[in-house]
């Protein structure tokens, strides 16, 4: 009884802070885990010494006999880890500055030593050298509804900064730096048929999966260091005098991960958007980019807030690492993310904005809609890339979201399509793979770009309004929970049926099965059209698609039978729009369900077909060949001739120039 009362009191003390709503306006998640960490950075030894009190709530119906925790930093412990083994680029003999987490002590709240129950497991590949998943056999199982508290004394040695976390000289980005609970999935949750820990090893091509937590973190650093983190700064303690260090106290609620950065060279800039205080850390030499960065992040906030759902936190920090910290660039940790830029990067090159918009977007697709990035990277990266492209092309020009130079404009969605269509591995594997199983460097293309093009194609079929409605519903239903890909597809099916009835069938599983979970290509082609003069009207058989005038006699030489021939060279069957244009300026919009390999449209009348377009608005972004989507007997040669004339002139000029 005493122990029970003590546990309750401790829980209340620990989580009393959780439920005091210090940061967020309301509790957003189940807060199944919480962390209280005192961390001290030693910039010389490149270590972070930590003392952590943490809890996990067993909200399943299972008694759980063990804990599983991520020890991500151990991926950098040696070149025998799974992370390094999967990195074909890394020279296995190269000596690098490794990283690791060492546990000095591990007890429960009563002081019982849990270290004897510790062992490292490799549930994904059985690699005995990999130490990124720690299993702790408990003396007693955690009963359903109970909470277990642990106290860990650890030391994290940061690696040389090559992959998101680590140091370079006096620059530190500290991510995945503490022992972190995996996610216990009870039966029926996502794909789990029985209860168990979902705690994957750290792979070269994988990201993360965790519960929404509360973080109370104290960070002690030398005074000259400027710190940024995913938490709200509650207190800064500077003992003054000869003391060399200062201690900053942060709190973050309902986020998946707590990361922070420290570097003496940061300049700090502030802005706000509605209820969100935004802090931006950047090298002072990049002051000229501050406005660009704030515009980008506020554009993303505005767009996603309107079309998906509200941004629930009151704080946001983002970082533009200096050149020596670029290994940390382009990564998300919900309420802190890193952008990527360079000194004096021209405004026509939208890379800083694109990275900022993308990494901020993960606050939604990962931070709020907390999918499993190990198992379904497309649901996070691909969905987020889709939204990043919509935001970039909306705010920076429909044709210039990526690059806006007088000589060359590139939209973000075109860049994405280029990455997918031109990839030689686009048919090697489907999106149903776990992240580390994508072969031959296809992870990025499949997770990011193919998925984004799938979603653009979906939007092309069902419409933009329905697409936005889908994501609003997805947000409403799954915010601060762990959706699977099928949960997302269920939302799609429900919304599409509600809006369009059975227009696309009882559901859209046929779409996702072919595009996302299949390996086929989308390709439609106009083969040709024929206009055949019909010598006599009498006895003419009426064909489908004909548009005969209602009545009247016809002159013998003025009646034509026009046949439009379409083919589907690709394997994926999608409904497509077809626009048929006649020489008297009439147009007929048709729809082809795309199921058969070929389709003919036949018309009889006094008009002749003069051009045909499949997908006239180029909405089926997965189509690997836009060139064969249209056909005309009078192709427009002007752009190519214009290009040739300019090429000739530039070449003449250059030849004259090089001969002094």
């Amino acid at each position: 009884m005493g122990r029970l009362i003590f546990s309750i009191l401790l829980l209340l003390t620990f989580t009393g802070g959780s439920y005091s709503q210090t940061v967020n306006r309301k509790v957003l998640s189940a807060r199944l885990t919480g962390y209280k960490i005192d961390a001290t950075l030693d910039p010389v030894a490149k270590t972070v010494a930590g003392k952590m009190e943490a809890y996990w709530v067993n909200n399943s119906a299972d008694p759980v006999p063990d804990l599983q925790m991520h020890m991500y930093l151990n991926a950098f412990r040696s070149n025998k880890s799974t992370f390094y083994k999967e990195n074909s680029v890394f020279d296995k003999t190269e000596k690098i500055d490794f990283g690791y987490i060492e546990i000095n002590s591990f007890t429960d709240i009563y002081g019982k030593d849990l270290k004897p129950g510790m062992s490292y497991i490799s549930p994904d590949d059985g690699n005995p050298e990999d130490m990124t998943v720690l299993l702790i056999a408990l003396p007693e199982p955690v009963r359903p509804g109970d909470t277990i508290f642990i106290i860990i004394d650890f030391k994290s040695k940061l690696p040389a900064l090559t992959h998101r976390t680590g140091f370079n000289d006096d620059f530190f980005f500290v991510g995945q730096w503490f022992p972190k609970f995996g996610v216990y999935e009870s039966a029926g949750m996502r794909f789990a048929t029985k209860g168990g820990w979902n705690c994957h090893q750290f792979h070269y091509n994988s990201e993360f999966y965790a519960n929404h937590s509360v973080y109370d973190v104290k960070i002690t650093v030398p005074k000259e260091y400027v710190v940024g983190s995913g938490g709200l700064l509650l207190n800064e303690e500077d003992p003054g005098g000869e003391g060399k260090n200062k201690t900053l106290t942060y709190r973050a609620e309902d986020i998946l991960d707590f990361a922070w950065t420290a570097w003496p060279g940061y300049a700090v800039y502030s802005d706000n958007w509605k209820h969100v205080d935004i802090t931006f850390l950047a090298p002072p030499e990049r002051k000229g980019q501050v406005d660009r960065q704030f515009i980008a992040v506020k554009s993303a906030l505005e767009y996603l807030d309107e079309k998906v759902g509200p941004y629930p936190w009151t704080h946001l920090t983002f970082v533009d690492p200096p050149a020596k910290g670029q290994g940390a660039g382009g990564m998300e940790y919900t309420t802190i993310f890193t952008s990527q830029s360079a000194y004096k990067i021209p405004e026509s090159i939208h890379i800083p904005e694109l990275v900022t918009v993308h990494e901020f977007g993960h606050a939604y697709f990962m931070g709020i809609l907390a999918s499993n990035e190990f198992e379904e990277p497309w649901l996070d990266e691909g969905v987020n890339t889709f939204w990043e492209q919509r935001i970039m092309d909306h705010y920076y020009g429909e044709n210039s979201g990526f690059l806006d130079h007088p000589l060359l404009k590139i939209s973000d969605k075109s860049y994405s399509r280029l990455s997918y269509v031109s990839s030689e591995g686009r048919q090697l594997v489907s999106n149903s793979e776990y992240s580390w199983n994508y072969p031959h460097g296809t992870y990025g293309m499949m997770s990011y770009f193919k998925t984004a093009n799938v979603l653009y194609t979906l939007m092309g079929i069902i419409g933009e309004e329905t697409t936005d409605e889908i994501f609003r519903e997805y947000y409403k239903r799954w915010a601060f929970r762990h959706p699977s890909g099928y949960d997302f597809i269920d939302v799609v099916n429900e919304v599409v049926t509600r809006v369009h009835g059975n227009k696309f069938g009882p559901d859209l599983n046929w779409f996702f099965d072919q595009t996302l979970f299949g390996t086929g290509l989308v390709d439609y082609k106009v083969v040709r059209f024929l206009n055949t003069r019909v010598s006599s009207f009498k006895g003419l058989k009426m064909e489908t698609d004909s548009l005969l005038p209602e009545s009247g006699e016809y002159k013998k030489d003025s009646l034509y039978k026009s046949t439009v021939q379409l083919e589907r060279p690709g394997d994926v069957m999608l409904p497509v729009d077809v626009l048929i244009h006649f020489d008297n300026n009439d147009s007929i919009p048709e729809t082809w369900d795309g199921k058969a390999r070929h389709k003919d449209f036949i018309y009889t009348g006094t008009r002749k077909v003069d051009w045909v377009k499949i997908d006239p608005e180029y909405k089926i972004r997965m189509d690997v060949n836009f060139i064969n989507n249209s056909y005309t007997n009078s192709p427009d040669r002007i752009p190519v001739s214009s290009f040739t004339n300019k090429f000739i002139a530039f070449m003449q000029f250059f030849i004259s120039f090089i001969s002094l």
């Binding site: 000194y343 280029l418 269509v421 060949n625 064969n628 001739s641 300019k646 090429f647 000739i648 000029f653």
Partner: protein, 298 residues
Amino acid sequence: MTMIDHFKSGFSRCIRSWKGILIIWMLTLFLVSILALPLRAGINSVLGKSMVTELFNNGINIDVLTDFDKSLGTILSSLTSGLSVILILGFIMNAFLSGGIFSLLRTREKPSASVFFAGGATNFLSFLIITFISSVIIVLLVILLFGVPLIIMSAAGQPQEGAVFKTGRILALLVVLIIPVFVLIADNARAWQVSNAGKAGFHSIGKGFSLTFSNFFFSYFFMVILLAVQILFSLLFFKILSGSHPVSGGGVFLLFIISQVLFVFKILLKTWRYGSISSLVESRVIQRKDMAKPNYEI
């Protein structure tokens, strides 16, 4: 003579040499067309009867280029090979053509095509040597003055952000200030060579150096003005061409005419530079009396 006098002299020589300018234009157009016309045919072949060219109305379209697929690789590969050959041929051809134009600029006879071709043939090897060596010197200069310090800076540690960029700008400015010297040396060498056809190209380069440094500051600013005019015209050239997006066949034809007129004007400016330098060289030679009597009245 003042700078203005030399500019005027150069201009009048340039106008007299209009036949040479036209010959240069035609031969350059022919050379480049060897590459450009098959390129156009190749692109049109890939596009076939598609209407996707409508996406080019706002300039290069990545979606269309993406769909060239393997054909793009073939086209680019052919283009790269062709460009290399054309540039080498162009370099060699221009040695001949500049020999011809310098002969026209300095001749007392009525400038004619025969004088042009005879001068080109006579001075071809020397001019090739002069142009080649001058170009190599400029390239080495750029690498030494600009590239090496930046590489050393970048490799030596972790310079403050922007330091490499700022240093690069200063070095680039230095390079820009030095290049006119070597262009001047080349032009002086060529102008001297034309009147001393029996001399080797290396000898002419030596003369180029001595003529350049004999009255350096005058010559340097003289050349800077000539090059500045050419550079400004070049910027205008690029701006006009890159901003043109014809939408009709007539517009395309007009673009061709305008681009060629601009190129002819470019040759004219270059010829004016050659003529002005020729005038300057002749005045120096008369003063120094170390050259045969010039065959053109100043």
